[in-house]
């Protein structure tokens, strides 16, 4: 149970980072923390206490195995997270070229 709680706290730290930080690079890092908290949660729900890897071998009986499906999902989710982070960092670099700052409060030409 405490593992889930810590995972939830990690998620909240990420959200806090996105909402409160002014530096756009820190916001991207916050986004990474949120994504990893969700990935961790996915792995946790597949874990069984003292479970083994679900590999079927000859002459071996597996009684208590972890759920392999969330692990496959997490791999997909990590790749998606990488794509998003790469794209956002690229955009952040172009923003720095145009505005000359990473401060989100000074990047506000759009309003209304």
């Amino acid at each position: 149970m405490s593992a889930y709680l810590l995972c939830f706290i990690l998620f909240c730290i990420g959200l806090y980072c996105i909402l409160r930080k002014r530096n756009i690079i820190k916001i991207v890092i916050g986004l990474g923390i949120v994504e990893y908290a969700v990935n961790l949660f996915l792995v946790l729900i597949g874990y069984r206490w003292r479970g083994r890897a679900p590999i079927l071998a000859k002459g071996r009986e597996i009684l208590n195995m972890v759920d392999p499906l969330p692990q496959a999902l997490v791999l997909t989710s990590i790749v998606i997270g990488l794509a998003i982070t790469a794209l956002i960092v690229a955009i952040a670099m172009r923003i720095y070229e145009k505005y000359g700052t990473f401060d989100i409060t000074r990047i506000r030409r759009l309003k209304g």
Partner: protein, 495 residues
């Protein structure tokens, strides 16, 4: 079986365009347009199939559904496929001329095709995690497309959109993970079955809130709408048309409705929250739109407002309300993409989006002005046009269920919409011609073709509620009204 083609064709087109487009100049135009044309034909064919068989299931890799991934084509999916591919066809034709203003046309078409693949995937998938993956494909492509011009404002809008969209995706993934741990399955039909067997609600309320936040942000419902008025105007006009026309509906409204109606089941509390969010977006969207002077930004705020109508109609949960909501979804995707294409035509000719700067364009750009008049009357709900019928059905649906206050709000929002589009007509197209624009010419043929095509659909859209064409909407309504019976329909089609 043609179901996987809806994903394969745009993905393949994206691959070929990115491979060959850089070297051969004509390839991107030809490939993208033929791909969208084939997809339109296939989606119309899918409707014939649905009419005959009701539900079709494709087993990916030959694995039987609760274990393997499946693709499901039913009335609602077919309805959404036709909507998406119709708009994307006209948008692709329009882009042939419009995108000459930008460099690297092939990158544009690659991203457009990826976005289309993601949207078609969301519509036909029957697996919850698969839905998330397609959602991310469509979202990432749209983040990149919003920043396509790489000017300061576009980058800023794209950054905002990307951060908010990614947080929404995280909420959705968290919800999916919780549902998986609760039901031990990811197949939507199987999940609906298991949830029916469990008597207590368990974590469903919490998951519902996560999905409401996630999909609500993708659909730009009011507390989560801040990204839309920045992101949609910043994109190139064809992409604005795609984003406002279909992306927010597929990623937000369709995914939300599919999960809430067919998997989780709509409880009274969720239904009233959805209706309330719909009404609030309807009113706040239109109030904010009234004050805008930027043509595209005004249209973007109207998207928030019109999505409110769709959500209101669907949230009512009665057959009549859902019929109105889905009909308005189709109509809005047609007239809003037409309006954005009009704004693109104005930008193409004038290089400005400021309404105060243009005047009397009717004399120089008759096609743009007339199609814009049709679209404005549709969105404002003037009787013979399609927007009138769907709004009328939504308002009648409200009255039917005794929600008179909400019906009044819908009427008020419609009047304010009319006021704000009268402003557009007065400042942009009627009045005395500004001397600056003496030399302005009408836009090229491909752009005119798209605008006229969409305008014709706007005018003829009302006939969709006649008995002859009724199955198009009615089959989609039946799917949503069936609720968790969806599971039985899917498993019956597997066998």
């Amino acid at each position: 079986m043609m179901l996987p083609l809806f994903v394969i064709i745009p993905l393949g087109a994206a691959f070929l365009i990115s491979l060959l487009g850089k070297k051969i100049e004509k390839i991107p135009d030809v490939l993208a347009n033929s791909a969208t044309l084939i997809l339109l034909a296939l989606s119309l064919h899918s409707f014939v199939l649905v009419k005959a068989y009701k539900t079709l299931v494709y087993k990916v890799g030959g694995w039987i559904p609760p274990i393997g991934i499946c693709m499901v084509l039913d009335g609602l999916a077919s309805f959404m496929l036709i909507t998406v591919n119709l708009v994307s066809f006209f948008v692709a034709v329009y882009s042939v001329n419009y995108m000459r203003r930008y460099t690297d046309k092939w990158k544009f078409y690659t991203l457009l095709m990826l976005m289309l693949a993601g949207m078609n995937g969301i519509i036909i998938t029957g697996d919850l995690f698969n839905l998330f993956v397609f959602l991310e494909i469509a979202s990432i492509a749209s983040y990149a497309l919003v920043a396509f011009g790489t000017e300061a404002e576009e980058l800023e809008a794209s950054f905002k959109y990307a951060i908010m969209g990614s947080v929404a995706s995280s909420f959705i993934l968290l919800g999916i993970a919780m549902l998986y741990s609760y039901t031990s399955t990811l197949n939507m039909a199987d999940m609906a079955n298991i949830l029916t067997q469990k008597s207590q609600t368990g974590i469903l309320p919490f998951v519902s809130v996560l999905f409401l936040m996630g999909f609500g942000l993708k659909a730009a419902l009011v507390p989560f709408h801040a990204w839309l008025p920045d992101a949609h105007p910043s994109a190139p006009a064809p992409i604005s048309a795609m984003l406002s026309g279909v992306l927010i509906k597929v990623l937000g409204v369709y995914a939300m409705m599919r999960i809430f109606f067919n998997v989780l089941g709509v409880s009274q509390a969720v239904s009233s929250i959805i209706i309330f969010l719909g009404v609030v977006s309807m009113l706040i969207g239109v109030f904010l739109a009234l004050a805008q002077w930027d043509f595209k930004r005004l249209l973007a705020y109207h998207s928030v407002s019109q999505i409110g109508y769709v959500i209101l109609g669907l949230g009512l949960g009665t057959p009549f309300g859902i019929l109105g909501g889905l009909f308005h979804l189709f109509n809005h995707s047609v007239f809003k993409s037409l309006l954005f294409l009009n704004s693109g035509a104005v930008v193409y000719a004038l290089h400005t989006r400021d309404l105060q700067d243009m005047s009397g364009l009717r004399q120089r750009m008759p096609v743009t002005a007339n199609t814009n008049l049709v679209a404005s009357m549709s969105i404002a709900g003037i009787p013979p046009f399609n927007g009138f019928w769907s709004k009328l059905m939504i308002i009648l649906g409200c009255i039917q269920t005794g929600r008179f206050g909400y019906a009044l709000c819908a009427v008020a929002a419609s009047l304010l919409t009319l006021a704000s589009f009268m402003k557009v007509q007065k400042y942009a197209f009627f009045g005395k011609l500004n001397e600056k624009w003496e030399t302005v010419k009408e836009v090229p043929l491909a752009m005119r073709f798209s605008m006229i095509g969409l305008a014709v659909i706007c005018m003829a859209g009302g006939i969709l509620i006649l008995p002859v064409f009724k199955p198009f909407l009615q089959l989609a309504v039946d799917v949503l009204m069936a609720g968790r019976e969806y599971a039985q329909a899917v498993f019956a089609a597997v066998r």
